[in-house]
């Protein structure tokens, strides 16, 4: 039970982080440099999971992906399975829940890029892809690494939102944090200690990486 739950947590964190990496970068760019109506609204929506109780977020996601909704029906038609109480449903909820942890470090790193570097990229006739790959991403490397680490660690530690959306189905949606709760309830202290120690170690390692990266000044690429 313990290792299986840990494996599901790692799988959930990996898939969520990979998807967030793709979604969060353009979103962070839009929030850092975009001038459009509704920017404040979008920023608020992205940050909402920071203050919203996880169970509330999980409840709304559950309503959104229920089998009788457009999303739930479409999912059922395409994949012949329900999205609620499935691993895919947990991924959906985790993406929303960890979105600010991925977007905000990237957004701050983008804002920290010296303006003259971005202007130079324009006057040197770099197209959007070249500007992104040769100037923006290397300059914001620290922010991207921090986003990956924080999104991963945050997903590993999710409880309320995954419980609401995924339930606790063994071998499918029972993640490490839920397994820990159940081990404590069953008074299996020794195994609970082991699992808690593993989760603590993962969180500690990830945060150590984030602080080490930030201390090296990679956030704005100022070090050679």
């Amino acid at each position: 039970m313990m290792w299986e739950a840990l494996f599901i947590s790692l799988k959930l964190a990996t898939v969520t982080t990979a998807i967030l990496l793709v979604i969060a970068m353009p979103l962070a760019y839009l929030l850092a440099f975009g001038h459009f109506r509704g920017r404040t609204m979008l920023e608020t929506i992205v940050a909402l999971p920071l203050v919203l109780p996880p169970t509330v977020l999980g409840y709304f996601v559950l309503l959104l992906i229920a089998p009788d909704t457009w999303i739930g029906e479409s999912w059922q038609a395409w994949f012949d399975s329900t999205l609620a109480f499935s691993f895919s449903g947990m991924v959906t909820a985790s993406i929303l829940y960890s979105l600010p942890f991925a977007v905000q470090p990237m957004q701050h790193a983008l804002l920290a890029i010296p303006k003259n570097w971005l202007e130079m990229a324009h006057t040197q006739q770099l197209n959007l892809w070249q500007r992104a790959s040769r100037v923006i991403l290397p300059a914001a490397k620290g922010g991207v690494l921090a986003a990956v680490a924080l999104a991963f660690a945050h997903t590993m530690g999710e409880f309320g939102v995954v419980l609401m959306v995924g339930g606790s189905i063994p071998s499918e949606t029972r993640v490490a944090s839920i397994a820990l709760f159940e081990l404590v309830e069953m008074q299996q202290d020794s195994r609970a200690n082991q699992l808690a120690l593993v989760l603590l170690s993962v969180s500690f390692a990830v945060l150590t990486v984030v602080y080490a990266v930030n201390r090296r000044g990679l956030a704005v690429g100022v070090r050679p």
Partner: protein
């Protein structure tokens, strides 16, 4: 013929510039805060003028009456600012060739060699910006601006960090390069010698207003007194 007629508010300064110039060397001088760099930024497309038109080599770059602003990346200008803006994680070589494909770099090998020799930066090519002096960084930035063979060169005090001996050599070399490329050069400079040696036209800026002078000896003398 290139036409420039712009009005632009930058902070408390109201910039008014009305001038025409050909494929020639224009030296812009004036006191600090007069709007010289702001004028170059408008030409580079980094700021959009509040009102006016810019037409370069028969192409419209800006026309506020029809809300048209050409992107900086489509203006084909080479820029060197007071801050060299070199990317710290790249070598001098990589900074110069930034944005050019591998094939493009092969085709431009001779041109790169000419730039590197002329700007006396052969020994610096594998160094990163933190290992360059400000004068060396300025020369690398100049090489980067020229490497793309721009249609116009915008230089903001490009020799300010150079030692007098090399400054003189750079002037002569750059004058030759301009003739070779047949491009317009607009250069902000406080150095009267730059104007004497290089300028086909002098522009003087005072409190945002552009005063254009022709390139006669009497004008040059007057400019010296003003500068």
């Amino acid at each position: 013929m290139n036409q420039l007629r712009v009005q632009h508010k930058v902070g408390d300064l109201c910039l008014h510039a009305h001038a025409s110039f050909d494929r020639e060397w224009v030296v812009i001088s004036g006191e600090n805060g007069a709007g010289k760099t702001s004028l170059l930024r408008l030409l580079a497309g980094l700021d959009a003028a509040d009102d006016g038109q810019i037409s370069i080599n028969g192409n419209v770059w800006l026309d506020t009456s029809s809300n048209f602003v050409l992107n900086p990346e489509n203006r084909h200008v080479g820029c060197v600012w007071a801050d060299s803006s070199l990317l710290p994680w790249l070598t001098a070589m990589a900074n110069i060739t930034l944005g050019v494909s591998r094939q493009g770099r092969i085709e431009k090998e001779a041109w790169l060699r000419e730039l590197v020799q002329g700007l006396e930066i052969e020994a610096l090519m594998q160094r990163r910006p933190h290992a360059l002096s400000s004068g060396e960084a300025q020369r690398v930035a100049l090489a980067r601006a020229l490497y793309a063979c721009p249609e116009m060169l915008l230089l903001d005090e490009p020799f300010s960090a150079q030692a007098p001996a090399i400054r003189s050599r750079l002037r002569d070399w750059l004058k030759g390069i301009r003739q070779q490329l047949q491009i317009s050069v607009l250069m902000v400079s406080h150095d009267a010698e730059d104007a004497r040696v290089l300028a086909d036209q002098h522009w003087y800026m005072r409190q945002g207003h552009l005063l254009v002078e022709a390139g006669t000896a009497a004008d040059k003398s007057r400019w010296k007194n003003m500068a």
